[in-house]
């Protein structure tokens, strides 16, 4: 195996990447190789899907498979090798279907039939041994000896960004939002990668185009969330448990949560959010359920302790699962793209066994003293008080905005973000999103003229909302976004964050501080390119970076 797609990848002895029997995430070599092979198969589907779509016979079924299968390969999503062998069988069938549609359309339209090489022509073995023997060909580093690590790193940036885009598009699809344009762009991206591109300008151009696609996708997801669940509104989320049977929902999938709330209504079982499910408490159509009892725990990396202590079953709806400990492995369930060998997987929103498990477990014996935090400062809430904010800026009461958000993780260096927020001046406002906020969202940061200094905008994909707010403020102040007194501190861990970063770059947002460490696949020359074009910065110390931001 070789994998360097996430922030916690091995960086020892000058070698970047996990290349031993088990990666730092817990993914074993066999599963990692099967994931690479699945990506290779997806490229082959995309080669034909793009050509078919160009002739007007595109298939969103193939597109849906691409979204799902790419999502399964994100960090901390699916560790079950059997799921990957099954998906590879399915990939061969889908590619055959798309190929047939393309070739029939080409023949009917009198267009010369192309026979794309590479992944499109790969005979996908059905025997596992034969499959694994070909893993080297599908490795992210395939061809590095010929093209060099910079080109491979740029290909990786696009592939990992595309994984993030697919994950968001899958979430949107679960909320009945999809678009032909998005499928077309994803197919086009994977077709581009299938051709083993080597031109730096073309690679950078494709990466930025993908960033624009991700903006569209985050818009679709936003439409899905607000369309199904209403506009997020500032709301108190209880963070202390109440007596009763309990289910904990982690991951990111609001459609799963909505279905579970519906199925548990009136059963006496309470539902708690974990990690990135916290924003659920701000959506009117979710918080209307009295048994959406509260938020439990913190960010994903603490799950082994928090899940062990939770007195009920756990549903993991998407990233980020880590190896279930003995104490709770029999009562954690997976859904959607998630998988772990030996865990029960729930299909089609049938949560009956999960509810049975909740009834069999003790639940919380007593109410804890009520504690709450405020969530739900989406773009409508923030822009709803735009006049107050603009007046406060003009009057000098608000001198600076910070966006501090993204992923959390276990690395000790991530204290940077809590230290940074602690040190922000009292006349500044902090927008936050993603799970990085768990490092500082339970503290009282005060307010400015009634506006809380810390505004929780939602999940990582709600960077869409943050972008809308930034654009609206720029319009109000008649300036460019880059001219606003706004500093972005983006904390990344995995591929959704890579997609968001590409969106910010595609929008020409400059001066982003990225941490806690830079991606291992970004080589020094590629970093120089990003620094020159976008003034992207790596974290140093909170003090120095804060001073630089305020001086800018």
């Amino acid at each position: 195996m070789f994998c360097y797609q996430c922030e916690q990848t091995s960086r020892t002895d000058g070698v970047n990447g996990c290349a031993s029997a088990v990666g730092n995430c817990g993914k074993d070599a066999q599963t990692s190789d099967l994931q690479d092979l699945l990506i290779h198969a997806v490229k082959g589907i995309a080669q034909y899907a793009k050509r078919a779509r160009d002739l007007g016979v595109g298939s969103n079924d193939a597109g849906k498979f691409i979204l799902y299968s790419m999502f399964t390969t994100l960090t901390n999503v699916n560790f079950n090798p059997a799921r990957f062998t099954s998906m590879l069988v399915e990939a061969a069938e889908i590619r055959a279907t798309v190929k047939k549609a393309y070739e029939e359309a080409a023949a009917a339209q009198g267009v010369a039939i192309e026979h794309p090489a590479g992944a499109a022509a790969w005979t996908i073995p059905t025997e596992t041994n034969e499959l694994l023997a070909q893993a080297e060909m599908a490795s992210i580093r395939a061809g590095e000896a010929e093209v060099g690590e910079d080109i491979v790193g740029l290909r990786a940036l696009i592939l990992y960004g595309a994984k993030g885009v697919c994950a968001y598009a899958y979430h949107a699809l679960m909320l009945d939002e999809q678009s032909d344009e998005v499928y077309a762009n994803i197919e086009s991206t994977m077709d581009f990668l299938a051709n083993d591109p080597t031109d730096v300008d073309a690679l950078v151009g494709q990466a930025l185009a993908l960033g624009h696609t991700n903006l569209t996708v985050m818009g679709l997801l936003d439409a899905g969330n607000t369309g199904k669940f209403g506009t997020p509104e500032p709301s108190a989320a209880r963070i202390s448990p109440v007596a009763g049977k309990a289910i904990l929902v982690s991951g990111h999938d609001m459609a799963d949560l909505a279905a579970l709330l519906e199925q548990t209504e009136g059963t006496g079982v309470n539902v708690y959010t974990h990690g990135e499910m916290l924003p659920a408490h701000s959506y009117p159509e979710l918080k209307k359920y009295a048994h959406l009892a509260g938020n439990y725990g913190g960010a994903w990396q603490d799950q082994q302790t928090e899940f062990a202590n939770f007195p009920g079953p756990i549903l993991m709806t998407s990233n980020c699962i880590i190896e279930p400990a003995a104490s709770y492995r029999r009562r954690i369930f997976t859904a959607g793209p998630v998988g772990w060998p030996g865990l029960r997987h729930i299909e089609n929103h049938d949560f009956s066994t999960l509810i049975q498990a909740a009834n069999a477990m003790p639940g919380f014996a007593a109410d804890s003293e009520e504690e709450t935090i405020t969530v739900g400062f989406g773009r409508d809430a923030v822009l709803g008080v735009a006049d107050v904010v603009i007046d406060a800026v003009k009057a000098g009461a608000i001198k600076h905005f910070f966006l501090v958000g993204g992923c959390d993780g276990a690395a000790s260096g991530r204290n940077y973000y809590s230290d940074l927020v602690d040190q922000t001046p009292k006349d500044s406002v902090i927008l936050t999103l993603g799970c990085a906020k768990y490092r500082f969202n339970k503290k009282d940061h005060g307010d400015i003229g009634g506006i809380p200094r810390l505004l929780d905008m939602g999940q990582c994909n709600d960077s869409y909302s943050a972008i809308q707010v930034a654009v609206a403020l720029a319009e109000a102040f008649e300036c460019e976004v880059n001219e606003l007194p706004l500093s972005l501190f983006v904390s990344w861990f995995e591929q959704k964050a890579a997609a968001v970063l590409l969106t910010l770059l595609a929008l020409n947002i400059k001066g982003i501080t990225l941490g806690p460490t830079l991606p291992a696949f970004i080589t020094p020359p590629v970093l120089n390119t990003l620094v020159e074009a976008f003034d992207i910065k790596a974290n140093t110390t909170p003090e120095a970076d804060l001073a630089a931001a305020l001086a800018a």
Binding site: A82, S86, R344, T353, A360
Partner: protein
């Protein structure tokens, strides 16, 4: 005060867990002091539940049953952890994944009898339901392959039986129990057990578990009621939609011993990649199936598997003679010991 040594357990999934143990303690007791619950039942070297392999370090083993640990196995570093006393720092391989090694005491739920049915072949199906504890919880979590200790009502006599149904949240536990002449539990099953009876139980216990991380084909070699944990594994595989190519060898002495055939047929219907074969050692003239022990049939197919480059995971359950024979076949044909997972049924 005797010398203290460091014991490092290497788990099936390549993880490590360590604890201290003095020269006059055994590994199971020392682990329990460190709040690590290792598989063990009899604590006297009779049941084989605490089997491990010493990779390095010196130790002494107190007396134990040869059925629980054969001389051949002992010669290869096989140990029973309840009988092992360190004489230096040790590294021990265990067949559990780290995620299966629990902490704290083993639960002791009270159960109620839901049904006692004749399955044929002198085998009774005992269906229990775990009753809620004082917190209202039904402690019903187990892994396929694990067993429970069941106490005969009104006595302190306990017998260990593998669970044959798949893990569930209704609290139901199914067992397949062969009636033993003069057996105390058998006698209760035949003459005393009735629906509604309450039993004290202890469990789940045991480390005879599915190796779930791999893609290797699975071979299940069962002798008699050794089929019970295999049924639990296969039933969970069916529920989870697992696609591993699997074959079940079910060994019985005569056709009169046949039981669980409907259950196996139902599994074949829901697991497309499962095939099964009943092996009769001493059949009548009418028998058209495999004649011989399940190990004979296993040997025939293992040769073919290895010839195709396949390295199956092999699950063995039944009397010690069956396990020893299957292990000898694996060694003879070159299947590594790490591909074997076994549970020995020893007389209680």
């Amino acid at each position: 005060m005797s010398q203290t040594y460091s014991i490092c357990l290497n788990t099936q999934d390549g993880k490590e867990i360590s604890f201290d143990c003095t020269a006059d303690e055994n590994l199971i007791d020392a682990a329990a002091k460190a709040n690590i619950t290792l598989p063990a039942v009899c604590h006297e070297g009779n049941c084989g539940a605490c089997h491990g392999h010493c990779k390095s370090g010196d130790y002494k083993q107190s007396s134990h049953s040869s059925g629980a640990l054969s001389e051949q196995d002992e010669g290869h570093g096989g140990i029973l952890m309840c009988c092992t006393h360190p004489q230096g720092d040790m590294v021990v391989e265990v067949t559990s994944d780290l995620a299966h090694i629990t902490s704290g005491p083993v639960p002791e739920p009270v159960c109620e009898v839901l049904a006692v049915d004749d399955m044929g072949g002198q085998v009774r199906r005992l269906l229990l339901k775990v009753l809620p504890d004082e917190s209202g919880a039904i402690n019903t979590e187990f892994e396929p392959g694990q067993f429970m200790e069941l106490e005969i009502p009104g006595t302190d006599i306990r017998r260990a039986y593998s669970i044959s149904n798949a893990p569930n949240w209704t609290g139901e536990l199914e067992f397949m129990i062969r009636l033993q002449p003069h057996g105390k539990f058998s006698s209760w099953l035949l003459n005393g057990a009735k629906v509604g009876d309450r039993l004290n139980t202890k469990g789940p216990e045991g480390s005879f578990l599915l190796h779930q991380a791999g893609l290797a084909p699975r071979r299940f070699v069962a002798g008699g009621t050794g089929i019970a944990p295999m049924l639990s594994m296969l039933r969970q595989m069916a529920e989870f939609g697992e696609t591993h190519e699997s074959h079940l060898y079910f060994g019985l002495t005569t056709e009169e011993d046949l039981f669980a055939i409907d259950e196996i047929e139902a599994l074949k219907a829901s697991l497309p990649n499962l095939t099964a074969e009943v092996c009769i050692w001493k059949p009548g003239d009418a028998w058209r199936g495999f004649v011989g022990s399940p190990v004979d049939a296993f040997k025939r197919d293992l040769q073919a598997d290895l010839g195709k480059g396949l390295k199956p995971d092999v699950y063995l359950c039944g009397p010690p003679g069956l396990i020893d024979a299957a292990e000898a076949v694996a060694e003879e044909l070159g299947l590594p010991y790490s591909s074997l997972f076994s549970e020995r049924f020893l007389p209680g």
